[in-house]
């Protein structure tokens, strides 16, 4: 049975101040959601030592973590709502659609194996109509493309004996949808003379958590902890280009796994830009970056902001000479991982995305930069600007500098 008693912090400090409700993106656009306060600390208070309550209203929680960021009393609201989701799924079951959506890794493997076909199929109206009817996946929702040459097919581990060594947690998105991001990361590390190994890894578990499949997420967590610790204990740093993956490894595993090993791993995990910024501070970064005259807007993913690390992507992009980047400051994109792919959430997803789309339009930059593949999916659908990962910009700047020599 699920045990929410392993939490580091308690819900008892909740003063019902409503800061989480006022900061919750979903509560901001719909009254159908029960809200983080009511379904987090208050539900927990209600069921403590009592019979568990299955509350359907939890379905609208996206696990974005804005409640955690807003709580002045340090209550980890999203851990409580993650358990409420798990209880709901355990009691009420989950649909075939949610099973598919939460299996990002399996879907990635299959879809990329038949990539040209799957991509085409996802753009065909009759197929999408059928998917909406049979699975509840909205017809108008765009999907990310899958790549046949996925990153697992193209990358082979190399050893160079460098002082710093990186175990790259690629994540499902960069593996199956955006191998160019993974490729750029490897390049950036090469420019810094750092060896990159790809450890055996499973999906970080965030899509499973978001769909209430706590047991599966816990299973993936313990597999990843075991696999990654084998690297950190040999002096590797774990680095991720997806901010949801790094959030999972840094934070979520502490609450859904909670072992000493989870804690040990968390101390070695970095977001890619955070890692580069640390190299910069230690004087180890290759700062031979060529000027780039682009003008970009930066969209901060919720799971980046939840890591409490400032804004490393902006810090790194500002190192590129003549590069003009501006934080959009637009809040949640509304895609929210698997959330935006669901028919009954589609309206909320679109309403949430409006502020972001308007900020992109108002800024009128050349393109948008964001770390998150899901935010990119929403940006692709709602704006006419290209979307790039910050590591791709850095890789290009390094490459231009190399060509200039």
């Amino acid at each position: 049975m699920l045990d929410p008693n392993i939490l580091e912090t308690t819900y008892e400090k909740c003063l019902k101040c409503n800061a989480c409700v006022a900061s919750c993106p979903v509560s901001g656009v719909t009254l159908d959601f029960g809200g983080p306060k009511h379904l987090g600390p208050e539900l927990k208070r209600l069921v403590d030592n009592q019979q568990i309550i299955d509350d359907k209203r939890i379905e609208f929680c996206t696990l974005c973590g804005n409640c955690d960021m807003s709580c002045p009393e340090n209550v980890h609201v999203s851990t409580l709502t993650a358990y409420a989701k798990a209880i709901h799924t355990e009691k009420s079951g989950f649909s075939f659609r949610d099973f598919v959506l939460s299996n990002a890794e399996l879907v990635g493997k299959m879809a990329s194996a038949f990539a040209p076909v799957t991509n085409m199929a996802m753009k065909m109206k009759p197929i999408r109509k059928m998917m909406e009817k049979m699975m509840g996946i909205p017809e108008d929702r765009q999907f990310p493309n899958y790549q046949f040459k996925n990153f697992n097919r193209v990358y082979k581990n190399k050893t160079s004996g460098s002082k710093r060594k990186v175990a790259y947690f690629v994540g499902c998105y960069a593996t199956y949808n955006a191998p160019e991001v993974a490729g750029s990361f490897v390049k950036v590390m090469e420019y810094n003379g750092i060896e990159v190994a790809i450890p055996r890894q499973k999906c970080c578990g965030i899509p499973m958590l978001a769909n209430g499949r706590m047991n599966r997420a816990q299973k993936n967590a313990s597999d990843n902890i075991e696999s990654l610790l084998a690297y950190t204990r040999r002096g590797y740093d774990v680095v991720a280009t997806c901010t949801s993956c790094s959030l999972a490894l840094k934070k979520e595993y502490l609450s859904i796994n909670g072992t000493d090993e989870a804690r040990e791993l968390a101390a070695h995990v970095y977001d890619a830009d955070e890692y580069l910024r640390m190299l910069k501070e230690e004087g180890e970064l290759n700062v031979n970056l060529a000027p780039m005259k682009d003008r970009a807007g930066y969209h901060a993913p919720c799971h980046m902001r939840a890591q409490g690390m400032g804004n490393p992507a902006m810090d790194m992009l500002e190192l590129i000479p003549e590069y003009d980047v501006q934080d959009l400051g637009a809040g949640c994109c509304g895609q929210c991982g698997t959330f935006g792919f669901k028919k009954e959430k589609y309206d909320v997803s679109m309403k949430l995305g409006r502020t972001m789309a308007e900020s992109v339009k108002d800024l009128g930059a050349d393109y948008t930069v964001t770390e998150c593949g899901m935010c990119k999916n929403q940006l692709d659908q709602l704006t006419d600007k290209a979307v790039k990962h910050p590591i791709q910009i850095l890789a290009e700047s390094y490459e231009r500098a190399k060509r200039a020599i």
Partner: protein, 382 residues
């Protein structure tokens, strides 16, 4: 790594960070969660809980007369900022105005957003409540207000927003609904109809909960004003008040867009000292404790209510940096590069529980002036 590191995300923290960026400082803001600004009214009193005038205020807060011109500068700077952010503030600390709160009490305040209007001694007013909002009871407000304004003729009516909610609706939820034109129009229709039924004449003032729109507050207030043909005011009560959320959200967005780096869900657990100077902060996120270095630091953690101080049997403890304080919460040996603002300056600043916006504006302004001086002229912390 940063020029300025601000601790705390309340009014003083966010203003410090925004103003530090305006000075060209690389600025970080470290925060456990939202500041008490979220629970505030968004209205800035001189002496919270008291109607004392400017002279009394200067006395209570031990301010010299030379600080009066600084106060005016601080308020001007704040008003300029809020004008730019599309949520203008009115009022002067020399001239307090009476406003009605969500409990129907009158309080005198110095600075207030444009959604608020003063309550007169005489004339007539109608209190309008929404059925969906349990924490704003028009009858209760009317009776309380009547005690303080015996010459004012007051009526109260209840209307509905017409939306079913899966959670207890707050004033902020109501504000977001009133951002929609069709809901506003429907509400105005209900008000007119009820007034006709109850034979209530057109009043001088309509009193609403702090719910008159969030992003579209201007359109909302404008439509109520023009179609009801009377002044309207918000009466801030139980949080979250739209009056405060508008202020909070606009300041936060401005801070982010101007390049302040937010360290959210992060708690400051101590400081690494180098003699009389803070070298870096020890910050804790769920996975680890790390150091965040800066040249200057602004302590904006609030007082006892904000969590900046804890009252213990051994005395008052400063809770972020664990610096030694005297019995009134004033730091015994203030590090030369640390600037406490607002309630962080000590408990004599929080005589009625909270520090209040006007003092926050002044102390934040002074701290930012201090940053500038120590950058350009090497003058230490005053």
């Amino acid at each position: 790594m940063y020029d300025v590191v601000v601790i705390g995300q309340g009014l003083s923290g966010m203003l410090s960070a925004i103003w530090a960026r305006e000075e060209g400082c690389r600025t970080a803001l470290v925060t456990t969660g939202a500041g008490k600004i979220m629970q505030s009214t968004g209205v800035m009193d001189l002496i919270p809980g008291s109607d004392g005038n400017l002279n009394e205020w200067m006395g209570i807060y031990h301010l010299g007369s030379w600080q009066q011109s600084r106060l005016n500068d601080a308020i001007r700077k704040f008003k300029t900022l809020m004008n730019r952010l599309g949520y203008p503030y009115k009022g002067e600390p020399q001239d307090l105005i009476p406003i009605v709160t969500g409990s129907g009490r009158i309080k005198h305040t110095a600075l207030y957003p444009e959604t608020i209007s003063p309550v007169t001694e005489e004339g007539s007013a109608v209190v309008v409540g929404f059925n969906e909002l349990t924490d704003f009871q028009p009858l209760f407000i009317r009776k309380n207000l009547q005690k303080e304004r015996p010459l004012l003729s007051i009526d109260s009516i209840r209307i509905h927003l017409g939306k079913y909610s899966q959670r207890l609706m707050t004033q902020l939820d109501a504000a977001r609904l009133l951002d929609q034109r069709d809901i506003r129009t429907d509400c105005i229709g209900q008000i007119k109809k009820q007034m006709a039924q109850k034979q209530i004449g057109r009043p001088d003032l309509f009193i609403f909960p702090a719910s008159l729109g969030e992003d579209e507050w201007k359109e909302t207030v404008g439509q109520f004003h023009s179609e009801l043909r009377a002044k309207v005011t918000e009466a801030p009560g139980m949080p979250p008040n739209a009056t405060a959320i508008r202020l909070n959200d606009r300041l936060k967005r401005e801070a982010i867009r101007s390049g302040v780096r937010f360290y959210a869900d992060t708690t400051v657990v101590g400081a690494n000292m180098d003699g009389e100077e803070i070298k870096s902060l020890r910050i804790k996120t769920s996975g680890r404790v790390s150091n965040l270095s800066g040249k200057q630091f602004i302590l904006a953690t609030g007082g006892v209510l904000g969590g900046g101080f804890e009252i213990t049997p051994e005395g008052i403890k400063e809770s972020a940096l664990h610096l030694e304080t005297d019995s009134s919460g004033v730091m015994a040996r203030l590090p030369v590069n640390l600037y406490p603002v607002g309630a962080s300056k000590g408990v004599q600043m929080i005589c009625h529980g909270i520090v209040g916006g006007v003092y926050t504006l002044l102390s934040t302004y002074e701290a930012v002036c201090g940053l500038r001086q120590s950058v350009t002229g090497g003058v230490g912390n005053a």
